[in-house]
C-alpha cells in the first residue's frame, strides 16, 4: 500500500510545487518508488519545475477519461529511476478530476509505488479538495506571514472535515508544518513571525524550515528540484524535511541569522 502525501497551503505562491518536487525527488533518491501528481488543472507547472515539460504527451485527465493508460502518461525522471511524474491537464476544465477517477488512479499507482505526492493547486476549490481527499499525510506549506498562516489554518479545518479519512471516521490525516521563505535575519529584528510563533498558532509537527534562498529560483530556472542542489541552504533544508518525514531525527537548521561582516551589515538591503 502506497502512502499518499498532499502538499497543500490554501494560499498561492508559498512554495507548494517547489516542495512537491523536492519531496518527491528526495523520497525517490532514498530508494522509495515515488510518483508525483500535479493537480493544478489548467495551470500546469510541476513539469517545468521538474524539468520534463517537453516530454509531456498525455496527462492526468487523459488517464481519468480513459484516453491513455497510466503508463503512457507517467514520465520517468531521467535523474532518478524511482521517480515518475504525472502532469496536470493544461486544457480541460477543473471538473475533469472526478473523485472516482482520482481514486482509481491513486489505487493503480499504489500497486507499484511506495509514495504518491499530490501537488495541490492554491485555493480551496475542487482541484485542491481532490488533491487532499485521499491523503494519508499532509504537508501544510506556510510562509511566516499573516495571510498564509490564516489560510493554512483554514486548510487544516478542511483536512479535518472533508477528507476521505474524516468522512469515513478513519484515523485522521497526519499533518505536518513546513515553513518556507523564512528569513532568520528579519525574525531576529522582530519583523517576521518566528518558527515558535507560527507553531504556537497552528500547533503542528514541524518538518523543516526552508530559508528564503536564491537557490530556489536558480533551481526552477533550470528545471532541477532544489533538493538536488546539495550545496544550497534550501536544498539542505529540504533534505532535512525528507529525512524527518521518514522518521529520522535531525536538529533544525537555518534558524539563526548568518554572521555577517561589517560591510554587509551596513549595506544590508
Amino acid at each position: 500500500m502506497a502512502r499518499t502525501i498532499v502538499i497543500t497551503s490554501g494560499k498561492g505562491g508559498v512554495g507548494k510545487t517547489t516542495t512537491a518536487a523536492a519531496m518527491a525527488m528526495g523520497l525517490a533518491q532514498r530508494g522509495q518508488r515515488t510518483a508525483v501528481i500535479d493537480f493544478d488543472v489548467g495551470l500546469r507547472n510541476l513539469d517545468l519545475i521538474m524539468g520534463c515539460e517537453r516530454r509531456v504527451v498525455y496527462d492526468f485527465a487523459n488517464v481519468i477519461n480513459g484516453e491513455a493508460n497510466l503508463n503512457q502518461a507517467l514520465i520517468r525522471d531521467k535523474r532518478c529511476e524511482h521517480l515518475s511524474i504525472l502532469p496536470a491537464s493544461q486544457t480541460r476544465d477543473k471538473e475533469a478530476l472526478t473523485q472516482e477517477g482520482v481514486g482509481q488512479v491513486l489505487d493503480e499507482l499504489g500497486k507499484t509505488y511506495d509514495y504518491i505526492v499530490c501537488d495541490s493547486p492554491a485555493g480551496i476549490e475542487h482541484g485542491a479538495v481532490m488533491a487532499m481527499f485521499f491523503a494519508d499525510d499532509a504537508v501544510v506549506v506556510t510562509n511566516p506571514e499573516v495571510s498564509s498562516v490564516r489560510d493554512s489554518d483554514r486548510m487544516l479545518g478542511i483536512l479535518a472535515s472533508k477528507s476521505r479519512r474524516a468522512l469515513e471516521n478513519d484515523e485522521p490525516i497526519r499533518e505536518f508544518l513546513l515553513l518556507t521563505r523564512y528569513s532568520p535575519e528579519r525574525v531576529a529584528r522582530g519583523e517576521m513571525l518566528g518558527v515558535e510563533d507560527v507553531q504556537e498558532i497552528l500547533s503542528l509537527n514541524l518538518l523543516s524550515v526552508i530559508p528564503e534562498s536564491m537557490a530556489v529560483l536558480n533551481a526552477s530556472n533550470a528545471g532541477n528540484p532544489v533538493i538536488l542542489d546539495h550545496e544550497s541552504d534550501a536544498g539542505q533544508a529540504y533534505a532535512d524535511m525528507v529525512a524527518r518525514y521518514l522518521g529520522e531525527e535531525r536538529p533544525m537548521h537555518f534558524l539563526e541569522p548568518e554572521r555577517k561582516g561589517l560591510f554587509s551589515r551596513f549595506f544590508r538591503g
Binding site: V146, G157, R189, E200, R265, F267
Partner: protein, 90 residues
C-alpha cells in the same frame, strides 16, 4: 541592528511588527475556528427566535444572541435574549 535599520524602522528602535502580526493572528484564528465548528443552522435559528419574540415584545434586531460551544463530550447552545426595560415598554 545595523545603523540603516535603525534609521529605517518607524519610531527608531523598539518592537517590530511581528508581535502585532502574532497577536492579530491569534485572535483571528480563534475566531475562524469557533465559526468552523458551528452548525450551519445557527443564523436561521437566531432569525426565527427573533421573529417569535417579536410577536410578543418589541425588541431590537440584536436582542437575541446565540453562542455555540463544543467541549469534549457535549455541546452547549446558549441563547441570550435582552428584553427592553419596563419603562420604555409602557
Amino acid at each position: 541592528m545595523g545603523l540603516l535599520d535603525y534609521l529605517r524602522s518607524p519610531g527608531g528602535a523598539g518592537k517590530g511588527s511581528a508581535s502585532v502580526a502574532k497577536e492579530r493572528l491569534q485572535i483571528l484564528v480563534a475566531h475562524d475556528r469557533a465559526a468552523r465548528d458551528r452548525p450551519s443552522y445557527l443564523p436561521r435559528l437566531q432569525q426565527e427566535i427573533l421573529a417569535v419574540i417579536r410577536k410578543y415584545v418589541e425588541v431590537d434586531n440584536d436582542a437575541v444572541s446565540v453562542h455555540y460551544e463544543q467541549e469534549d463530550r457535549h455541546e452547549i447552545l446558549e441563547l441570550n435574549i435582552v428584553l427592553p426595560d419596563p419603562e420604555s415598554r409602557a
